[in-house]
Amino acid sequence: MEQVGQLFTESVFQVGLVPINGILTRPRQPCNGPTIVILNSGLLHHIGSCRLSVSISRHLASLGYNTIRFDFAGIGDSPSRADATVSEPQKTIEQLQEVFSFVEKQGIASEFLVGGLCSAADGAFHIGVVDKRVIGIFQIDPYLFRTPEYYLRRYFPRRLNPAAAVRWFWRKLKSASSRSNEPSFHDDSRFKLPQEEVSTGYQILIDRKVRVLVFVTGEQSMLYNYSRQFYDMFRRVDFGSFLDFNYRKDSSHMMLEPGQREFISSKIVAWVQQTAGDHVNRQTQPTARHIP
């Protein structure tokens, strides 16, 4: 069952007895680089917000990278599994490792770049921390924590400026009155992790030279309101050159704006190329010889 494009082919794959279902996009030319794994976010199925996971997968495959997009059990096109006793991060890790093993057994790759939006960003973080096969993670709206400066920026100007205080109050009033009665279902079970644990996790990643690409969108303003807040959140972590951070103040969380979508997807593609290239270079560099 294979869909054939000019530069890539796509096939469905199933992993496990209660299968995880997904799509493997492969370049026409054989590829030795890492496989890029795009995770599904919350309840959105594997095509991603505004079909972004599909377009990124195909773009990367046309540049020579194997990519995978799939649904975690119970989401989208993957049936539920009876593993209610296992914690959310553990489920994510186990299912991702099943997918990794499948890719390895197929002889496709043994290294991975993993990422996605929101809970997918969390999933990429969790697997990256525990699995050495992960050489890079990309995160859109990952775990965020308020800092002292966040509070200063959020509340201090209003106290000083009566007009701003009135505007703020008016906005609150308006948003409260325009709430929809629509019966909908959203994933508010995004697993919360203490800041200290996230900080330790990033340090583990950086110590292992795992590349990290982060986007924070403006819609996270309840948690995040200035560009370098990410660095303040994790002061203890020396990200060095391993972090590529991008604050997209004008982007919605769902990336509904065409310009923002274009920026984020282009950046991910360029980051994948750079990360995969650097990794190959590191592996092929001759070991320095000690001359007595």
Partner: protein, 253 residues
């Protein structure tokens, strides 16, 4: 749930839901809506397919070209290609489930594809859930919505006539081809179905039941559910209109 690529060059993505008992007494093709409506309804369509399969009905749901996992990009497709996709999906349904009676469900813009399927093949039942009666009606809804929504960066019409609505792009070419689709307004007599079931939340202002459709067995069903197809919230919450899903299962079985 069995995902597959099918059709010409395997360009269409679909998912089969086979009855767990193994006995399939009927088969249904689901023609989904498009854009943000499809993204938000996807979870419901998975549930609906599972519920139908439990009743012994085999289901194929699929993505049109330029949508979901099917080939192509939305910017480059035209509505006629979606009609072809509907035909190919119906053929696949036949291939997968054999000679059992077949029905088609069309949702919103998907109603036009479903109706087209039932002009080429005789179908047992054609169920249209909140059907857009024409491509022009769908586009008018998008444009109305753009005027009321306070997100000009996401919802606008560019100089070349392309409509950007909630993260999805409807090119001028696609719009023109959609406008020419009036099957449910002017050609309803072409439908080859034993039963046409219309599911809406209220009696439509312009009912489909036209004088020239008297030969069709049409029934209108009302199911009051409170949600908006065109909305999209901060985190892309799913639409789960359980009452409507239950109604569809009842009508189809």
């Amino acid at each position: 749930m069995e995902p597959l690529f099918f059709g010409t060059d395997k360009r269409l993505y679909g998912v089969l839901h086979t009855p767990p008992q193994g006995i399939c007494n009927q088969a249904v093709l689901i023609c989904p809506p498009v854009g943000q409506e499809y993204l938000r309804l996807h979870r419901s369509l998975v549930w609906l397919s599972g519920m139908l399969a439990e009743k012994g009905i085999g289901v194929l749901r699929f993505d049109y070209r330029g949508t979901g996992d099917s080939a192509g990009v939305l910017e480059k497709v035209v509505a006629d290609e979606w009609l072809e996709d509907g035909e190919e999906a119906f053929e696949e349904l036949h291939e997968q489930f054999g000679s059992v009676p077949k029905s088609v469900i069309g949702i919103r813009l998907g109603a036009l594809v479903a109706a087209h399927c039932s002009t080429a093949q005789a179908v047992e039942r054609l169920l249209l859930w909140e059907a857009c009666q024409s491509g022009a009606e769908f586009l008018a809804e998008l444009k109305d919505d753009m005027l009321t929504r306070l997100l000009p960066e996401c919802n606008f019409e560019s100089n070349d006539g392309t409509i950007h609505h909630n993260g999805f792009v409807y090119s001028d070419k696609l719009q023109r081809s959609l406008r020419s689709n009036t099957i449910l307004q002017n050609e309803i007599q072409r439908l080859k179905t034993k039963e046409l079931l219309l599911l809406d939340r209220k009696i439509p202002d312009k009912p489909l039941i036209a004088a020239d459709a008297s030969s069709l067995n049409i029934s209108q069903h009302i199911c009051q559910v409170d949600f908006s197809w065109l909305d999209v919230d901060v985190i892309g919450s799913a639409i789960i209109p359980q009452k409507a899903l239950d109604n569809i299962v009842k009508l189809m079985s």
